[in-house]
C-alpha cells in the first residue's frame, strides 16, 4: 500500500470514531426547566431544522408547558408529537403553540415531528 492509501485508511478510521462519538456517545447539552410562579414548568422551543432546546429536563408531577414557535416553512416540521403522552399539535409557521401536560412517571420520552426527522427528548426526573 502506498503512503497515501495508508493515510486514507487511517483517516477513515478516525472519521468513523469521530462520527460514532459525535452522534452517539458524546454527552448532550440538557436544558433544565425552572418552575414558574404559576407552578408550571415553562419552556419555549424554537423549531428550525431541529428543536432548540432539544433535550429538556423537567420534574415529574408538575405541569409542563411547552411553547413551540416554528420558524421555517418546510412541511416536515409542521407537527410535533409526544407519542408517550398522546399529545400533538400543529405548528403554523411563526405562531406560538402551547402544549401542556403533566408527566407523572420518571423516564426519557422522545418527541418528534410526524415522520421522525426532527427529534428531541423530554427527561422526566
Amino acid at each position: 500500500m502506498s503512503p497515501s492509501q495508508i493515510t486514507v485508511v487511517l483517516f477513515g478510521l478516525g472519521l468513523t470514531i469521530l462520527i460514532a462519538w459525535y452522534f452517539w456517545f458524546a454527552p448532550k447539552a440538557q436544558t433544565r426547566v425552572a418552575v414558574s410562579a404559576s407552578g408550571a414548568q415553562e419552556v419555549a422551543i424554537t423549531v428550525r431544522g431541529g428543536y432548540t432546546p432539544d433535550v429538556i429536563v423537567v420534574q415529574k408531577g408538575r405541569p409542563v408547558r411547552l411553547t413551540f414557535t416554528r420558524q421555517e416553512s418546510s412541511a416536515c416540521s409542521e407537527k410535533v408529537l409526544f407519542p408517550d403522552f398522546n399529545q400533538n399539535a400543529n405548528l403554523p409557521e411563526g405562531e406560538q403553540v402551547t402544549l401542556e401536560f403533566t408527566p407523572d412517571k420518571a423516564g426519557e420520552y422522545g418527541f418528534q415531528c410526524q415522520m421522525g426527522m426532527l427529534r428531541g427528548k423530554l427527561i422526566v426526573e
Binding site: F11, G49, D54, A75, E78, G116
Partner: protein, 878 residues
C-alpha cells in the same frame, strides 16, 4: 386635554374642534362637518359611557338576561338571587329555572355586566356567553387597539373584549342573544378596519394554505434547479456536445468555472433547506436526511471546484468536475418533496370531509323570532327550527315535530332514523321529511362532530407500536450511512481501479444520496392517517395507532349480549290463544296492554308498544291491582283480567291445558311468557323478549369466516343466553356472569394465549373493555367519547366490529408494505451504491440515479398510503 372625535377617532384639542355637541350630559368634539353630520344622525350610537354594555347610565335601570349553567339552578336559585341582590346597583333579580336564565335589572352607573358575571361565577355558576375571535386586517397602530376594544365593549351584549396587535385578532366574550357576529364586525369596521375570519380558528384551511405556499415555493426551487441542471449537464458531457468537445482543456475549465458559480444558487437557494436543516441537526448532535444530501452535494461541489482550480494536484484524468450531481440531485429531491407534500394533502382528506359536514348557519328562535345566525353563535338551550332537507346544525333534543333524519355521514347507517319528540338529534345530519324544533344540548367544541374530528385528529397523530421500531432504526440510520460512505471511499481508494479518487468520491457520494431515512419515517404515520380517517368515514372511531395495530391480530371477539347482540329493550314477540279462549288475538292483546298501560313493570311497556304497533285502541281500566311476585289483576270492559306467571294461575286455580307446555317452549327460546286469564278462564299467552338486532347474525357469521372465535358474555341465565346464542350462531357462551366478573372472564380468555377484543356498551362494561386487548364500545348517537374503549362504533351495529377489524387489517398491511419497501430499498440500494456489484458485473450506480431513487422512494410511500383511500369495507355504508 385632548379628546377623541367619537366618529372618526381622531385626537383633537377641544378649543380647535370644528364643532361640539352635547348629548345626554356629555360633550363631544368633532374634527369635520361630515363627522358632525354622522353624529347628528344617530347620537346615541356614539355613547360610550358604560364601557361594557352600551347602556346609558342616565336610563334609570338596565335589564339583562344571562344564561347560566354549571350547577342545578333549582337547588341554588335562592343563593344566586341573594348573591346578586347583595351587589351594589342591582335592583331586581329574577331566576327562570326552566330556561336556565337569569334576569337582572341594575343601575348601569353603579355596576357593569362584568361585575354581575363575576358575582354569578363566584358561587360556582358559569355564564353561558360565547367567545369568538375576529381577525382584523392590517392592524398596525397600537393606539387603535384601545379604540376598537372600547367600541366592542360598548356594543350591546359584549361582556369583554381584548385586541391583540401581535396576532391581529380581537377576542370577544359576548351574549349571542343580545348581539350577533355581524354587529361585532360592524363595530370593528367603524374604525376603518376590515374584519376577517380569525386565522387561529381555521386550522385546516390554514394548513392547506401553508401547504399550497410551500408547494409553490418548492416548485419554484425545482424549476430553477432544473434549468441550471440542463446547462450543467451539457458541460458535464462535453465529449458529445458539438462546440464543447473541440475546446481545449483550459477553456473547458473556464466553462466549468462558470457552472461552479451557477450551481451555487442551486445549493444555497433551491437546496437551502438541506444545508440549514443539516447544520441545525448537526448542532444538536443529530443527523437526518438533510445532513446526507448536504454532505453528498457539498462534497461533490468541493471536489469539483478543487479539481478545476488545481488540476495538477490530481492524477491524470481525475480533474473533471461533478457539478451535474450537485444540481440534478438537488432538483430531484426538491421535486420529490413537492410531490410528497401534494400526496400528503390527500391523506388528510378524511378530516376535511368531516369538517365539511358542519352546517354553516342555524335558524334559531329567540324571543319568538326566527333568525339565521352563524352556527358558532348557537348557545346551549337555544331552540332551533329545522326544515326538510336542511342540516341539523348542532346536537340537541327534539321538542316539537318529528322527522326522519339521515345520519349516514356520522354513523354509516344508510336508513334514515325516525325521530320524534324527546329523541336526540346530532349536528351535521340531514333532516329528510318533516320539520321539527329542537333544544340544543351541545354546541361548538362539544358537539359529536367536533369531538369526532378531535378524536380522529389525535388518533391520526398517535403512534402505532410498530413505528417505534422504525424510529429506533432511523435514530441510528444516518450516522451509519455516513460511516458506510467513509469506508466506501476508503476501500475504493485503497483497492479500487484507476482513477481511484474519482471512483472513491463518486461511490461515497452515491451512498450518501441514495440512503433515504424519510421513507422509513413516513411509512407508518402516513398509512395510519389514511386508515384512521377511513374508519371515521364508516362510523368507526379508532382512538390510537396502538388500538389499530392490536385490532388486526384479534383472535377472540367477546360480545356482550344485552344491547350489543340484542337491542337491549324487550319487545312483544308472541301472542298465543288458549283452546277455550273467548277472544281473538288482537282483542287479547288489547285487553292485556290496557292493563299493562297502568303497570310499572319494565316488561309492561313492551306489551303496550306491541299493541300500539298493531294500531290497537286501549280500553279503560278499573280496579287495577299489582300482586307482587305474581302479576296484576284489573277490570277492563267488564271483564276480569289476570296477567301473570304460573304461580298466579295456580293460585287462582286456572286450568292452563296446553298453554303450560307452550310457555315452556317459549322460555326455552329465551322469551318471557305471561299467562292471561279472562273471567277465570285461561285465554292465552303473551311473550316478550329482548330481540336480536337485525344484522347481528350476519356480522357474527362474517367474523367467524374471518377466522375469529366469537364468544357471548352475559349476566342472564344460561337458558335465555343459549337461546339467543343459537339464533345468532354463537357456540361459546359465558352465561350468569356478574357484571364485576366480566373483566375476569376476559382475563381467562387472554390466559389461553389469545388476543381478545371485547364489545360492550361502554358504561356497564367499562372494566371488561379496559381489560381486553381491544375494547370496542357501542355508542349511540352523541356519546362518542367513551373513555374506556379503544374503538368506538358510533352506530350500534355489530357490523362495525367487522369493519373495524377490516380497516385495521388493511392499514397494517399497508404499513408493512411501506416498511418492508423502505427497508429493502435502503438495504439493497446502499450496497449497490457502494459498488458491491462492480467486481462481478462492472456495474456502478450513477449518483444521478441515486438522487432520483431517493426522491421518489418517499413519494412512493405516501402514494402507497393513499391507496388505502380506495379501501372498501365489506359492509359498505352508502
Amino acid at each position: 386635554m385632548t379628546q377623541h372625535d367619537p366618529v372618526c377617532g381622531m385626537e383633537i384639542e377641544p378649543q380647535s374642534a370644528f364643532a361640539k355637541r352635547e348629548h345626554m350630559g356629555q360633550t363631544f368634539y368633532f374634527c369635520s362637518q361630515s363627522c358632525v353630520d354622522q353624529f347628528d344622525k344617530d347620537p346615541h350610537h356614539y355613547m360610550m359611557t358604560s364601557a361594557t354594555t352600551g347602556f346609558n347610565p342616565q336610563m334609570t335601570l338596565t335589564r339583562i338576561e344571562l344564561p347560566v349553567s354549571g350547577l342545578p339552578l333549582k337547588d341554588h336559585a335562592t343563593h344566586l338571587e341573594s348573591t346578586l341582590r347583595a351587589v351594589n346597583g342591582v335592583a331586581e333579580v329574577k331566576v327562570n329555572v326552566a330556561a336556565n336564565r337569569l334576569e337582572v335589572q341594575y343601575d348601569a352607573g353603579k355596576v357593569d355586566v362584568s361585575k354581575l358575571v363575576g358575582a354569578v361565577k363566584s358561587i360556582g355558576f358559569q355564564v353561558g356567553g360565547t367567545n369568538v375571535k375576529i381577525g382584523i386586517e392590517n392592524l398596525r397602530c397600537a393606539s387603535c387597539v384601545k379604540f376598537i376594544e372600547d367600541e366592542l365593549k360598548s356594543t350591546q351584549g359584549v361582556l369583554n373584549a381584548t385586541v391583540n396587535i401581535a396576532t391581529q385578532e380581537a377576542t370577544v366574550d359576548y351574549l349571542p342573544q343580545n348581539t350577533t357576529l355581524a354587529e361585532l364586525n360592524k363595530a370593528i369596521e367603524t374604525w376603518g378596519y376590515k374584519s376577517r375570519q380569525a386565522t387561529s380558528d381555521a386550522p385546516v384551511d390554514k394548513q392547506e394554505e401553508a401547504h399550497a405556499n410551500e408547494y409553490r415555493k418548492l416548485m419554484n426551487k425545482f424549476w430553477f434547479a432544473a434549468a441550471i441542471s440542463v446547462i450543467v449537464m451539457i458541460t458535464a458531457y462535453y465529449q458529445i456536445v458539438p462546440v464543447l468537445r473541440d475546446l481545449s482543456m483550459d477553456s473547458l475549465r473556464l466553462v466549468w468555472g462558470v457552472t461552479a458559480l451557477l450551481t451555487l444558487p442551486v445549493m444555497f437557494w433551491s437546496g437551502s433547506d438541506f444545508f440549514t436543516g443539516g447544520w441545525a441537526a448537526f448542532k444538536h448532535r443529530s443527523a437526518n436526511m438533510n445532513t446526507l444530501i448536504a454532505l453528498g452535494t457539498g462534497a461533490a461541489w468541493l471536489y469539483s471546484t478543487f479539481a478545476i482550480l488545481f488540476p495538477s494536484v490530481f492524477p491524470e484524468g481525475t480533474s473533471e468536475p461533478f457539478y451535474d450531481v450537485v444540481a440534478v440531485v438537488i432538483a430531484l429531491v426538491v421535486l420529490g418533496q413537492a410531490l410528497e407534500l401534494r400526496a400528503k394533502g390527500q391523506s388528510s382528506s378524511a378530516i376535511k370531509k368531516l369538517l365539511g359536514l358542519q352546517a354553516k348557519t342555524a335558524r334559531v328562535i329567540r324571543d319568538g323570532k326566527e333568525m339565521d345566525i352563524p352556527v358558532e353563535e348557537v348557545l346551549v338551550g337555544d331552540v332551533i327550527q329545522v326544515r326538510p332537507g336542511e342540516k341539523v346544525p348542532v346536537d340537541g333534543v327534539i321538542v316539537e315535530g318529528s322527522s326522519a333524519v339521515d345520519e349516514s355521514m356520522l354513523t354509516g347507517e344508510s336508513m334514515p332514523a325516525s325521530k320524534k319528540m324527546g329523541d336526540e338529534v346530532i349536528g351535521a345530519t340531514i333532516n329528510k321529511t318533516g320539520a321539527f324544533k329542537f333544544r340544543t344540548t351541545k354546541v361548538g367544541k362539544d358537539t359529536a362532530l367536533a369531538q369526532i374530528v378531535k378524536m380522529v385528529q389525535d388518533a391520526q397523530n398517535s403512534k402505532a407500536p410498530i413505528a417505534r421500531l422504525a424510529d429506533t432504526v432511523s435514530g441510528y440510520f444516518v450516522p451509519i450511512v455516513m460511516i458506510l460512505a467513509v469506508w466506501t471511499f476508503v476501500v475504493w481508494f485503497a483497492f479500487g481501479p484507476q482513477p481511484q479518487l474519482v471512483y472513491a468520491l463518486v461511490t461515497s457520494v452515491t451512498v450518501l444520496i441514495i440512503a433515504c431515512p424519510c421513507a422509513l419515517g413516513l411509512a407508518t404515520p402516513m398509512s395510519l392517517m389514511v386508515g384512521i380517517g377511513k374508519g371515521a368515514e364508516s362510523g368507526i372511531l379508532i382512538r390510537s395507532g396502538e388500538a389499530l395495530q392490536t385490532a388486526r391480530a384479534i383472535q377472540i371477539v367477546v360480545l356482550d349480549k344485552t344491547g350489543t347482540i340484542t337491542k337491549g329493550k324487550p319487545e312483544l314477540t308472541d301472542v298465543i290463544l288458549g283452546e277455550q279462549s273467548s277472544v281473538d288475538s288482537d282483542q287479547l292483546l288489547k285487553l292485556a296492554s290496557s292493563v299493562e298501560k297502568v303497570s310499572e313493570h319494565p316488561l309492561a311497556q313492551a306489551i303496550v308498544d306491541g299493541a300500539q304497533a298493531r294500531k290497537l285502541k286501549l280500553a279503560e281500566v278499573k280496579d287495577f291491582e299489582a300482586i307482587p311476585g305474581h302479576g296484576v289483576s284489573a277490570k277492563v270492559e267488564d271483564k276480569n283480567i289476570l296477567i301473570g306467571n304460573l304461580k298466579l294461575m295456580n293460585r287462582e286455580n286456572i286450568a292452563l291445558g296446553s298453554l303450560e307446555e307452550k310457555s315452556k317452549s317459549l322460555a326455552d327460546d329465551g322469551k318471557t311468557p305471561m299467562f292471561i286469564a279472562i273471567d277465570g278462564k285461561a285465554a292465552g299467552i303473551i311473550a316478550v323478549a329482548d330481540t336480536v338486532k337485525e344484522d347481528s347474525a350476519e356480522a357474527i357469521a362474517v367474523l367467524q369466516k374471518m377466522g375469529i372465535e366469537v364468544v357471548m358474555i352475559t349476566g342472564d341465565n344460561r337458558r335465555t343466553a343459549e337461546a339467543i346464542a343459537r339464533k345468532v350462531g354463537i357456540t361459546r357462551v359465558l352465561a350468569e356472569v356478574l357484571p364485576e366478573d366480566k373483566a375476569n372472564n376476559i382475563q381467562q380468555l387472554q390466559a389461553e394465549g389469545k388476543q381478545v377484543a371485547m364489545v360492550g356498551d361502554g358504561i356497564n362494561d367499562a372494566p371488561a373493555l379496559a381489560q381486553a386487548d381491544v375494547g370496542l364500545a357501542i355508542g349511540t348517537g352523541t356519546d362518542v367519547a367513551i373513555e374506556a374503549s379503544d374503538i368506538t362504533l358510533i352506530k350500534g351495529s355489530l357490523k362495525g366490529v367487522v369493519t373495524a377489524i377490516e380497516v385495521s387489517r388493511a392499514t397494517m398491511t399497508n404499513i408493512y408494505q411501506n416498511l418492508v419497501g423502505a427497508f429493502f430499498y435502503n438495504v439493497l440500494g446502499i450496497p449497490v451504491a457502494m459498488g458491491l456489484l462492480f467486481p462481478f458485473f462492472g456495474v456502478l450506480l450513477s449518483p444521478l440515479i441515486a438522487g432520483a431513487a431517493m426522491a421518489f422512494s418517499s413519494v412512493t410511500v405516501v402514494g402507497n398510503a393513499n391507496r388505502l383511500r380506495g379501501f372498501k369495507p365489506k359492509f359498505t355504508a352508502r
